[in-house]
């Protein structure tokens, strides 16, 4: 570590020189592409970087960060500033590690109208809010591929709810909570030919322009419990709705969506959707929309979508199939929706902490337009319209534009704010973070990142009061940043200190899968509420057994056996089971009797075609097993629980179909001095 610091110290003056040269010539951030490899390590790295990110053993990080897992369908939790991985939370993807999506209790979480969908592409985590600030209660995330929105409970760090969205395809523009979680809003990236019966029409793909429509879903969130409910949708023109963000303060009632493919191309979109010099920023007054919906403007159509919820007492997920959805048409709801012209296929839309400025990052544009909410209000009032599109008024570009950030870099994607009047924009093509001032839109600093940054995140940087100390850049390309691991490389996040005038590079940390967006929150808003274990007394699982004397193995029908068993350090009860037959469906309901912190038990049985299941203290989980051959099959605890963990194992005897071996089960040969052991059979 010492030598590393010395290296940094030696390199720092050189780096500063390089920066000065780069800054002098850098009209566009791409100017310093050559020679980057040589100087890249030291460039911009703070001389005190090591101590700035050092969290001593046994000490806790200052912040939790939640990075989306992209195509792994999970959320990963990292501590900041250390960049240490704390947990992977499975959301849309089966997780053999703990049985999520495999156990009988959790399977329903992954049910959709398309059947069981055990994977998705998770892009955007968004923390729940109170008064426009993160409140540390829930994390909402989107499933892009099979449109879903999920909710993670931050007391348990577990997925507790998954809501499928009808009339959507490519749920990318999602999920955006309003300032008090009144709604979580989700737009469709892929427009589709809606059949108005909850599905899509079997139409010729030439009919894009006439038949395809998009939708924006308004999911109501229960104030206390967080439970979601799809209140209504707005059916919108058949563009691609890319990203969204809600207003704050004066713009609190509004939510803004970037759109592209306003050309309505149905094929080779990379060309077809890149023809218009300007697409739109769609502004929707969600409060007015909710009012319209409440006042009977909403129509209803048949639908078919799943709502999956984990019961907190039984830990069993249940699916409800919803059969209708209400919708609004913007052309029937005056004042609800406006279109603001925005340069060429805009990607990110970010609203500054004051709620006055809407920053639109046009990935193909050469400047970053900054819209003014006050000007937008004025333009609406004075009808400064530039025609309309599908009955939605289009505002005049100049009438809503505060100004443009000139020559910011190449490929602007996303912007976040530090709460001190500065904005930071990620530049995908020129691979840098650009800091600029909100008041005069002048660029004041640049920081190269490695390589091709997508989203960036400032803790609370999308809220009314950003935390403003760090910035995390999530890069799409890693190349030489870490030790190579074959063709598939780690993904790269970089931590930057933004507390001073100049950005300082602090840390590279590799991440799993591909983080798109992330959120972060001061640890003190979450850590004190973290659940240590579940209370056995409150376990309402129908097959829970709360003491060893109550365990049972019962043949319920010809081919079905139910084993209600327990696990406690360091044995399972029963651990000898006989009378199982080939082809039986055997349900192992394992209750973890522990009532102490950090004592999960795992359960795995040889030949199981699913996974293991990990049972938290006080909880019950169910693994299903269908033995295919006769013999004796061991099972055991998979989570190293105690000094005698290796002994925590048992056997099941499987006899041929129709065998007369009776069901019997036991643990231990005689009464021993082991808490609660009941020699039963």
């Amino acid at each position: 570590m010492e030598t590393l610091i010395n290296k940094f110290k030696k390199a720092a003056p050189k780096a500063a020189l390089l920066m000065a040269v780069a800054a002098g010539s850098a009209l566009q951030g791409c100017s310093n592409t050559d020679g980057r490899n040589a100087g890249s390590t030291a460039e911009g790295v703070a001389s005190d970087a090591a101590s700035a990110v050092y969290v001593a053993p046994g000490k806790h990080d200052e912040l939790y960060s939640f990075l989306s897992g992209g195509f792994n369908g999970q959320v990963s939790v990292y501590g900041l500033p250390s960049g240490r991985l704390l947990k992977i939370i499975p959301v849309f993807t089966q997780h053999g590690e703990n049985g999520y999506g495999y156990s009988e209790e959790s399977k329903a979480m992954l049910m959709t109208s398309h059947g069981f969908v055990p994977w998705d592409d998770l892009h955007h985590p968004k923390l729940s809010r109170t008064d426009g600030q993160t409140d540390g209660r829930w994390l909402f995330v989107n499933g892009n591929n099979t449109p879903r929105v999920a909710r993670i409970d931050l007391t348990t760090f577990e997925t507790v709810e998954v809501m499928e969205l009808p009339n959507s395809a490519g749920n990318h523009c999602s999920p955006y909570p309003t300032n008090n979680n009144e709604y979580v809003i989700a737009g469709t990236r892929f427009s589709v030919p809606l059949d108005m019966k909850g599905g899509t029409n079997d139409v010729s793909l030439d009919k894009y322009e006439e038949e395809f429509r998009g939708s924006i879903s308004f999911i109501k969130v229960d104030k206390d419990k967080g439970d979601m409910d799809l209140d209504f949708q707005i059916l919108v023109p058949g563009f691609d709705y890319d990203l969204a963000n809600g207003g704050k303060g004066p713009s609190e009632d509004w939510v803004f969506f970037t759109t592209y493919n306003t050309e309505k191309a149905g094929t080779l979109k990379e060309v077809g959707a890149s023809q218009n010099d300007r697409d739109y920023l769609a502004a929707v007054n969600w409060k007015l929309a909710a009012k319209y919906a409440a006042e009977g403007k909403a129509r209803e159509m048949p639908a078919n979508y799943y709502h999956n919820k984990m019961d907190k007492d039984t830990h069993i997920a249940k699916s409800t199939v919803k059969k209708k959805v209400r919708y609004l048409l913007p052309e029937e709801c005056p004042g609800m929706m406006y279109l603001l012209p925005a340069p060429k296929s805009p990607h990110g839309i970010d609203v500054d902490p004051s709620g006055e400025y809407m920053v639109v990052s046009g990935k193909l544009a050469s400047a970053i337009p900054v819209f003014s909410f006050a000007m937008m209000q004025d333009a609406i009032k004075n009808k400064k319209f530039d025609g309309e599109k599908n009955g939605i008024p289009v505002l005049q570009y100049e009438s809503v534009l505060k100004g443009e950030v000139k020559e910011p870099g190449l490929g602007p994607l996303h912007t976040e704010f530090d709460g001190k009047g500065n904005a930071y924009t990620s530049m995908f093509v020129s691979s840098e973070i650009v800091k600029w001032k909100l008041n005069d839109l002048s660029v004041v600093d640049r920081m190269p990142v490695y390589y091709s940054v997508g989203h960036l995140m400032i803790p609370g940087g999308d809220t009314k009061e950003p935390h403003g100390k760090y910035l995390v850049a999530m890069n799409k390309i890693t190349k030489d940043r870490y030790l190579p691991t074959g063709p598939e490389l780690a993904h790269s996040a970089q931590l930057i200190d933004i507390s001073g005038e100049k950005m300082k590079m602090l840390l590279d940390f590799p991440t799993v899968a591909e983080p798109h967006y992330a959120q972060a929150i001061p640890a003190e808003k979450v850590a004190p509420n973290s659940v240590k274990f579940y209370k056995l007394d409150e376990n309402k699982h129908p097959h829970a057994v709360k003491k060893e004397a109550d365990v049972s193995v019962v043949r319920e029908s010809k081919n079905r056996v139910r084993v209600k068993m327990t696990a406690i350090r360091s044995h399972m009860t029963p651990d000898n089971i006989e009378g199982i037959q080939v082809g039986d469906t055997v349900y192992f309901h394992v209750t973890n009797l522990e009532q102490d912190w950090d004592v999960p038990h795992g359960f795995a049985v040889m030949g199981a075609n699913n996974a293991e299941t990990l049972i938290m203290p006080g909880a019950t989980q169910t693994l299903t097993w269908v033995p295919k051959k006769t013999g004796v099959f061991p099972f055991y605890c998979t989570d190293f629980c105690s000094a005698l963990h290796q002994e925590m194992q048992g056997y099941i005897r499987v006899s041929p179909k129709g065998s007369d071996v009776p069901i019997s089960f036991s643990t231990g040969k005689k009464k021993q001095n082991i808490p609660g052991v009941a020699s039963a059979h």
Partner: protein
């Protein structure tokens, strides 16, 4: 006895009530895996601890060395001790009301005997749990017994055990010392207020 002495005697009797508000004794366990520590609280009428499930957690740890599980039901003392304490409180108040110094001394002496018996009983339980180990225990260290300390600390394998009286014991301590103070001052009464009390003394 003077009024203040009577009052003090009643206070002495009532201070035993602390036994129903606080534990008598606490055993603290600390190990590398238990940075938060484990506490077993011994009350006059129940067993408790740093968490609801502390007994289960104690027993899980103890079963590896073959110690018998600890259950509140195993201790008859927890059932009758509260009555003894209440009896002492009632008699103490009566002694205060009657105000005879010999009764004060007698009450005090009996309470000391009862307290000593309690500590002896506690020690015998510790010895019983610490030495009466299952021969089939998973962990057997030759010559090792696991008698927790009665007072002070002791290393038991990976656990450092610390045993200390708790606030409930303060009730007993107060009861004994206050009643002795009452007795001491009432001895002085005799010399100062001879005239008044001599009649009674003669009787």
């Amino acid at each position: 006895m003077k009024i203040y002495q009577k009052v003090l005697m009643v206070v002495a009797a009532l201070s035993l009530g602390l036994l129903f508000v606080f534990p008598m004794w606490k055993i603290y366990l600390k190990a590398p895996q238990y940075p938060e520590g484990l506490e077993l609280h011994i009350w006059v009428n129940k067993l408790g601890g740093s968490s609801e499930s502390v007994l289960q957690n104690f027993n899980i740890l103890n079963h590896y060395i073959g110690m018998e599980p600890i259950h509140a039901e195993s201790f008859a003392e927890l059932k009758f001790m509260p009555y003894i304490v209440i009896a002492f409180m009632v008699t103490g108040v009566l002694v205060g009301l009657i105000g005879r110094k010999k009764l004060v001394l007698g009450w005090s002496g009996m309470l000391m005997v009862a307290g000593a018996a309690g500590i002896l009983d506690f020690y015998l339980w510790l010895v019983k749990f610490g030495t009466n180990l299952d021969p089939k225990a998973a962990i057997k260290v030759p010559g090792m017994t696991y008698i927790p300390p009665l007072l002070g600390n002791k290393q038991l394998l990976n656990f450092e055990a610390l045993s200390l009286p708790a606030l409930g014991s303060l009730g007993i301590f107060l009861a004994i010392s206050l009643s002795l103070v009452v007795y001491y001052f009432s001895l002085k009464n005799k010399t100062v207020t001879r005239g008044v009390s001599s009649g009674k003394v003669l009787v």
